[in-house]
Symmetry: C2
Subunit: 214 residues, 2 copies
DNA sequence: TAGATTGTTAATCGATTAACAATC
DNA sequence: TAGATTGTTAATCGATTAACAATC
């Protein structure tokens, strides 16, 4: 595997490739050429080949790509052949929402516990997941070897939660708080800004009209 | 306002500018230069000026940008000075999650109804929002002038829901289904691929390790 | 072998950054 | 006026697309 710093644009496309490969597998398709894949997924054949060759030559000239093995390769590149233990911080609406969502996903990601500062919530359960005292989070993360923290608190406390999680040793933070947070270099960070996404939708809704008007 | 096709990269940054402007307003900051904004938000001063000038000259030479009016301008560009009526399709885990989330946001976006095909759910409520029969969605959207449909169904039915919503006349679709969908040109589409986001996090968690190893 | 399709290099395109003249 | 900072043009950088030789 080469390692000359893969661009983020490429990485963002990998899960999408993988999703389409799952569909193809379901349909019993065994091989696919970059050209066929192109019409399916909507990237150019050139881009598909370019993207995949960042990680190695997965294809075969004159034949194409094996759906099964390409799926396996991409899954491995993404690290989906591993298991990830997660905790949710913030057992309010958003935390509840994510807990529900994670439960219905049958992936290698599993939520082991939730944390809150609200005494009324501590000791209860969030969709079957125990809600514990936020005071004890560092201890818990260390002991249970939790690798991902899901931040579902309000924007004002998100940074302090991120600091604590990083200190406790998580390897990744999935941030749903409506704030940008900073993490040490060795901690991976992925932001889900739902309101940004909605605002972007609003822009395009109006933009489309402007175009129609011309 | 110029209209020479704003790149999507720019649009994706607008909500972020807006969030920082809200913070600045809270702190009572009245003006900000592109240079000061740069250190705060992490884009280059050049990019900030370039971005803003896509929409007009909001600044003043020798002074900078007025926080208040820049906030107003960006809000207007995004279309956040308007009201948006929404429906949720799919009252399962994900729909419930989004309903909760939308409720806690006090923005110009409001969910008026939810739809499902499950007879056990129809007639009940989802966080105070009535759950109606999916059969009647077109009629409802037309009558209530709903402008945004939030798709919270499984991947297998997402496209058919999108078709129905488009037919009924929504102007935007916020898609949480783990599938890519196609919509007519006049309908805006925003995808939230939570699993893609999580997979991208997994990649970076492992990628960071590779770097450490070298 | 001939045909197909990859892997990879070169060309193009677009987005970001730098520079600076305009102007408050 | 002098100083500061924008608006905008030009230069650079990176990502996408095209082309084609390598090879299954």
């Amino acid at each position: 595997m080469k390692n000359t710093k893969i661009s983020n644009a490429v990485i963002k496309r990998l899960p999408r490739y993988r999703r389409y490969l799952i569909e193809l597998r379901k349909k019993g398709v065994e091989k696919i050429s970059s050209k066929e894949f192109s019409t399916l997924i909507g990237y150019t054949a050139s881009q598909i080949r370019q993207d995949l060759n960042n990680f190695g030559g997965f294809g075969q000239q004159g034949y194409g790509y094996s759906v099964d093995s390409l799926y396996d390769e991409i899954s491995a590149i993404l690290g989906l052949d591993k298991e990830y233990k997660m905790v949710i911080i913030g057992a309010g609406n958003l935390g509840h929402a994510i807990a529900k969502y994670m439960q219905s996903s049958k992936q290698a990601f599993r939520v082991y516990g939730a944390f809150d500062i609200n005494p009324a919530l501590i000791g209860t359960e969030l969709e079957g997941i125990p809600i514990m005292d936020y005071e004890n989070i560092v201890e818990y993360v260390e002991k249970e070897k939790i690798s991902i923290g899901i931040i579902c608190v309000g924007g004002d406390t998100a940074q302090e939660v991120a600091d604590k999680l990083s200190f406790a040793g998580v390897k990744g933070i999935w941030n749903f708080a409506p704030t940008d947070i900073e993490v040490p270099k060795h901690v991976a960070l992925e932001n889900v800004q739902l309101s940004d996404s909605l605002h972007s939708l609003a822009y395009h809704m109006n933009d489309i009209h402007k175009k129609t008007d011309r």
